[in-house]
Amino acid sequence: MISLQHPLWLCPFRVFFLATASSALLLLAAWGLFLTGFLPLPPFAGGAVIWHAHELFHGCILASVIGFILTAVPEFTGVRPIAARHVRRLFGLWLLARTAFALSGLIGSAATVLAALCDLGLLAGVLLWLAKPLWQGSGRRHLAFFHALLALFVVECGFYASLLGGSDALPWLRLTGSLSMILIIIALSRISMRLVNDVLVERGDDSAPYVARPPRRNLAILTLGLHGAAGFWLPGNPLLGWLALAAAAAVFNLLNDWHIGKALWRRWVLLPYLVYWLMALAYTLQGLSSFFPALPGSSSAAHLAYIGSIGLSMLIVMSIAGRLHAGHDLDRRNWLPWSGAILLLAAGARYAPDWLGAAALLLASGLWCLAWFLYLRHALPVLLGPRPDNRAGCDEGG
């Protein structure tokens, strides 16, 4: 077992970002091999689609969210970072949950119960730790993280209750998808305030500072939440089409904050900008698919957001927080925009299967894996290595 003195435990993001990128790569590589028939499809509780969706949401994406929150909240609120031994326990729960879910079809409901306990224990542990810094003083400004994670906890309870009760658990995962979009908006609104303004200052163009305006953000969160709730209660209803279009318009409305001239073309601005574009496009297509059946279905459109928007935002957050809080400068190498472009291509390919056939699904899986392979190749020395200043903790370099 890796000792507590290993650099991996210096800061919570290290192990969780490593878990995110590794699971992103492994889960989609396995999915591609299952789809092509190179590997026989093993049994999973609830079926293969449930395993695929749950592990990507609650395995891969949640790991990046936990890594980011445990690192960023002490910075936002000024509290002491979470102790390494707690991080190790949380990561242990994450790993056990992934293993138990993978074996759920072979072992039976005991493995599913174990996965449920570990997944819920992980979320409860993070929520318990977050409660104190976020409910006091300046931390209250960031309570949205707590509320979103609490909602994820409730949805995860519902998911496992459905799964163990033998009913369809997929609606709970769609709800998780909507919550993930909301989490992106909450996180990006905070990160972008610093990122974009840093770029403006660097360009000597800081006369009109960038502000992520709360009313716009609240409208986007409201519409995304309504769409998620309606999708859960009234699947397939045309009402969803209107709510999806409302969500798309509200996300496009967020981009009003981002039109800041030539600084938009800098990678630290353009990549998060594209996150919102992809999200808005995905919701537009979801909305239109309700009224025009000839268009690819809402699942294909939703994947445009899952791969493009969530994938890209994970890449940005992990590339920025994962370096700054390890004492390094921002990564200016070309692999990052290339990985972003590959994720966009993967999102496009995943949207196309209704026209291009199953090859598009395989292409999307391959491109997704390539992007995360590039990330791991360039980020692994940072995640596993000591800080360049040989200090401990999560402080930024310099």
């Binding site: 309504l226 045309p238 009402l239 209107w242 409302a246 318009a249 496009f252 009003n256």
Partner: protein, 273 residues
């Protein structure tokens, strides 16, 4: 010193601000889609016979718009509403400014304005039917008289609240009348007039349909009366959509950009520390 931008630069800046204005409409669009969702939810509860869904109404509207007669009805309604509105805009703005300049006129006009505001448009419509019969005159007059007090009060308030110190300063600086008008008087008065004009335009659109419904054989109001007599709810909703759509178009594509341009000084003023 920076050289002034050439024509391509100015064109680029102008197209940039047009794009920025259009992009700022996404927030309104989100609210409209939420409204559509609420409408759909209500239609699900009440049933299509009582309240057709937005999609059914839009499909009916699309079918209606394939008929050239429908476009004729829309044009007739727009002509009547705009004629009444423009008359009101001219007379109401001028009379309101005159009343604002003179304290005596302002005092005299107050009870008359109260009377005009309090008089329901339907009462004017009855009088107009007696005076003008079933032609264009009735809806145009009703629109005029219903929108006049709104514009009159806006113009009067704008003129009354002119900053006396600014007026004094302009006199001391010896500004020409044209400069006083364009740089001091008009920007201030317009900041009161524009909201009044927009409110009046909305009122005009509503009143003209009511007047047509009760007094004419053509226009959107008459079409609504026919669809009501046939118990054709989807057609009624389609006509209402056409009406509201044209109102939103005029307000957001014509009046709002104009208002922003004329009020750019206010934004600059508010942005100062």
């Amino acid at each position: 010193m920076n050289a002034p931008p050439g024509l391509p630069g100015r064109l680029l800046a102008a197209s940039g601000s047009v794009l920025a204005y259009l992009w700022s409409g996404w927030g309104s669009l989100a609210s409209l889609f939420l409204f559509m969702a609420a409408w759909h939810a209500l239609a699900m509860v009440l049933g299509s016979l009582i309240l057709p869904t937005p999609v059914e109404s839009l499909q009916t509207l699309s079918r209606l718009l394939h008929d050239p007669l429908a476009w004729e009805d829309i044009a007739i309604t727009a002509r009547r509403a705009l004629t009444g509105f423009l008359l009101s805009l001219g007379v109401g703005s001028a009379a309101g400014m005159i009343a604002g300049i003179s304290l005596t006129a302002s005092m005299m006009s107050r009870p008359i304005v109260t009377l005009l505001v309090g008089m329901p448009p339907i009462a004017w419509l009855v009088l107009a039917l007696l005076w003008f019969g079933a032609g264009d005159g009735t809806p145009v007059f009703t629109v005029f008289v219903a929108t006049f007090p709104v514009i009159f009060v806006g113009a009067m308030q704008g003129t009354r609240t002119l900053d006396g110190q600014l007026r004094e300063l302009s006199r001391m600086l010896g500004l020409s009348f044209a400069m006083k008008l364009s740089d001091i008087y008009l920007p201030h008065v317009l900041s009161y007039l524009f909201p009044a004009w927009i409110t009046a335009l909305g009122t005009a659109w509503k009143v003209v349909v009511m007047a047509e419904l009760l007094s004419t054989q053509d226009g959107i109001g008459a079409a609504l009366a026919i669809s009501r007599s046939h118990l054709d709810t989807p057609s009624s909703m389609a006509w209402i959509l056409a009406l509201v759509g044209s109102l939103l178009g005029v307000e957001y594509l014509l009046l709002e950009p104009l208002k922003r341009r004329l009020e750019s000084w206010r934004q600059w003023d508010e942005s100062r520390p």
